[in-house]
């Protein structure tokens, strides 16, 4: 076990997989950095520091620094993955998905099905996402609902250093396309990471706290916020069953239902806006499959129906806070029928 930051875990995991399997390649803007400059290659190693040293080790045929061309990055990664490689593509900010949407949605996601199951496209698309940097409307969004809605994609949202290793290894070895969403605000988070080979199968939630009163479902940065809220609620005698869903597709329905059947109350925390969202999706699922267990209306704490604003005060008002989570849990607890 070593203690590492999530950004280093990403680098090291890719390193281990590239060493293990020659077919693993990487593509992205500035993932080497410094190409064609006086300072020379490796001037940055990815603007998030997630690929330092890999070019020196594996060379330009496997660590491919690209022009600013997101459509061609995803298309090229897709083409390579259809023809025997395992490509890891980096989209510098998840917001830039708009530029390469066709390649993801109509190409990568559909190959296997559309070609009658005769193809595989083992591509991993890494996308840093989320608010917290005051990076304004085009660099702060949480896009997981959009990709979760697309049949043919697996969607992963790790929140701890250990999970990052286990889920990224799984993603790279997976024969299907995986969208790997990295919350920007978590890159610097440190945690113990298992040594050696470590895989976490998709579709298994992580139990963060245990309690019998309210089930809280969260992803990404919201997991830590919910954990804070749960600690505060525990002091008031409210026990929270907090699940970090880890993958939004496949989804660990079993863990969700088991928990809701036990607590009878559900609170969903989602950084994204509220309509047609991951929160509404989970809510519909539970309302449909565990209606009889519910003792109170399902509560949702989400961002508002607006872009993510720039100013410090505005961004912090936008992002769900531990206080709002506490208030929603208390509301669920104090609900009385009729």
């Amino acid at each position: 076990m070593a203690k590492k930051m999530i950004r280093d875990v990403i680098r090291d995991t890719i390193d281990e997989e590239m060493a293990r399997d020659d077919s693993v390649i990487m593509l992205g803007e500035d993932i080497v950095g410094g190409m064609g400059s006086a300072g020379g290659p490796e001037a940055i190693g990815g603007i998030w520091g997630t690929s330092g040293g890999l070019w020196a080790k594996y060379g330009s045929d496997r660590v491919i620094d690209t022009p600013i061309s997101e459509s061609a990055i995803i298309g090229a990664a897709a083409g390579a993955s259809l023809t025997g490689k395992r490509a890891i593509a980096e989209i510098m900010f998840a917001d830039f998905i708009g530029v390469c949407m066709d390649q993801i949605w109509n190409q990568v996601a559909k190959f296997r099905y559309m070609f009658g199951g005769k193809s595989k496209c083992p591509i991993v698309i890494r996308m840093p996402y989320g608010a917290g940097y005051n990076a304004a409307p085009q660099h702060s969004q949480s896009i997981h609902a959009m990709v979760t809605a697309m049949p043919g994609l697996k969607v992963v949202m790790p929140t701890t250093a250990a999970d990052t290793k286990g889920l990224l290894t799984q993603a790279i070895r997976d024969d299907d396309p995986v969208i790997f969403l990295e919350h920007k605000a978590l890159y610097g988070l440190k945690g113990e990471v298992p040594d050696g080979e470590y895989l976490i199968p998709f579709g298994h939630a992580r139990q963060v706290t245990q309690g019998d009163d309210v089930t809280i479902l969260a992803t990404g940065m919201m997991v830590g916020f919910a954990e804070k809220a749960a600690a505060q609620l525990a002091q008031d005698g409210i026990g929270c069953d907090l699940l970090d869903l880890r993958t939004t597709s496949p989804l660990d329905e079993e863990a969700i239902m088991d928990s809701v059947e036990r607590t009878g109350r559900l609170l969903i925390v989602d950084e994204a806006p509220p309509r047609c969202s991951f929160a509404t999706d989970l809510s519909a699922l539970v309302a449909n499959k565990a209606f009889a267990s519910l003792k109170a209306p399902i509560e949702m704490v989400t961002g508002p129906h607006s872009p993510v604003p720039f100013a410090r005060e505005l961004e912090s008002a936008y992002v769900p806070s531990p206080d709002k989570i506490v208030a929603a849990a208390v509301k669920a607890m104090s609900y009385r029928r009729g």
Binding site: G34, G36, A38, I47, P67, Y133, N134, A135, P304, P307
Partner: protein, 320 residues
């Protein structure tokens, strides 16, 4: 150089305003006064001003993530811009957009833009409007943005529709940490633009007069109904890609050399004083005036009202 004294003073004032604005931001960001990602335009002033000194409010420009210079050159209120970057609700965009999204549609400034390559197609649309009014539409792009498919599509469409659009490629030789020679496959942006079927020229992006004269030619060409044009400006960026960039891609002594030899403000001063068009004291007076303006902009920004949670849901057509 057939420029009136007033025109020269105005051009220099604009360039100096951009420089002082950016230098002040550089300092204030280091002090932690400003949130978010900020990309400074210092070094490239001759480009924005050399282009925009030809334009009026009915001509359009669209900018990039490095937009402060274009905004100032197109006439955006400097105090309102500073307030925006400081995140005040009194800012030009009410603190919603910040540095990367400053816009003033009434001034023909269609926005800085956080998505590299997003501007050129929008400039084509503004070109449809501009064609109907006898104006022009300008798409500012960098040497990195020139590789985006959206830029290619926009160039071709502008040619096909014969629109008065000018694609201005500011070649500062880097896209983030990557050198232009690595990422641009063609020999130059000019060669590439010409291949799309448009008039394409180069100018010296650290010399206001070179940019200004070249733009005169292109604007006349576009207004005469010949379709779009492109210009590649050889220029330099004096700060990092964003504030906080360690700039390890630079060569040893590169920045010192650029500031010494390729500073468009120094070039301007030398040219106009040697040609006896302005005196050193004229320029010094502008420097003093501009410094006072920036000082006032910062003071007002620090005292300006802050947004509250209620502002988050302003300017949305509906909330849930």
């Amino acid at each position: 150089m057939q420029h009136s004294r007033e025109a020269l003073i105005q051009a220099y004032r604009q360039m100096k305003t951009i420089r002082a604005f950016e230098e002040r931001l550089h300092d204030d960001i280091a002090l932690g006064e400003i949130a978010g990602f900020t990309h400074l335009y210092a070094g490239q002033e001759a480009c924005a001003v050399g282009v925009c000194e030809h334009l009026g409010p009915a001509d359009y420009i669209i900018s990039t993530h490095r937009g402060h210079g274009h905004c100032i050159a197109k006439g955006c209120d400097v105090v309102g811009m500073m307030k925006e970057i400081y995140g005040s609700s009194d800012g030009l965009c009410k603190g919603k957009g910040g540095s990367m999204h400053i816009a003033d549609i009434n001034k023909g400034m269609l926005g800085a833009n956080g998505i590299v390559g997003a501007g050129a197609p929008i400039a084509v649309g503004a070109g449809i409007t501009a064609k109907s009014t006898g104006n022009v539409s300008i798409a500012f792009s960098g040497d990195g943005a020139c590789n985006q498919g959206t830029t290619f599509e926009a160039m071709n469409m502008a040619v096909v529709l014969k629109l008065p659009v000018i694609f201005v490629f500011e070649n500062n030789h880097y896209s983030e940490h990557t050198g232009e020679s690595y990422a641009v496959g063609a020999e130059s942006m000019t060669v590439r633009s010409a291949a799309f079927g448009m008039k394409a020229i180069k100018a010296n992006g650290i010399d206001f007069f070179s940019v200004y004269d070249a733009m005169r030619e292109l604007i006349d060409y576009c207004k005469a109904g010949n379709g779009p044009a492109s210009i590649e400006l050889d220029t330099e960026r004096f700060y990092g890609h964003f504030e906080g960039d360690p700039q390890r891609y630079r060569g040893k002594g590169e920045l010192d050399r650029l500031r010494e030899e390729r500073d468009c403000l120094k070039v301007f001063r030398t040219k106009v004083t040697e040609a006896k068009l302005l005196e050193g004291k004229d320029i010094d007076a502008i420097d003093t005036e501009v410094e006072a303006l920036i000082e006032r902009a910062v003071a007002e920004s620090k005292a300006a009202p802050r947004p509250t949670a209620a502002h988050v849901l302003e300017d949305v057509y509906i909330s849930y």
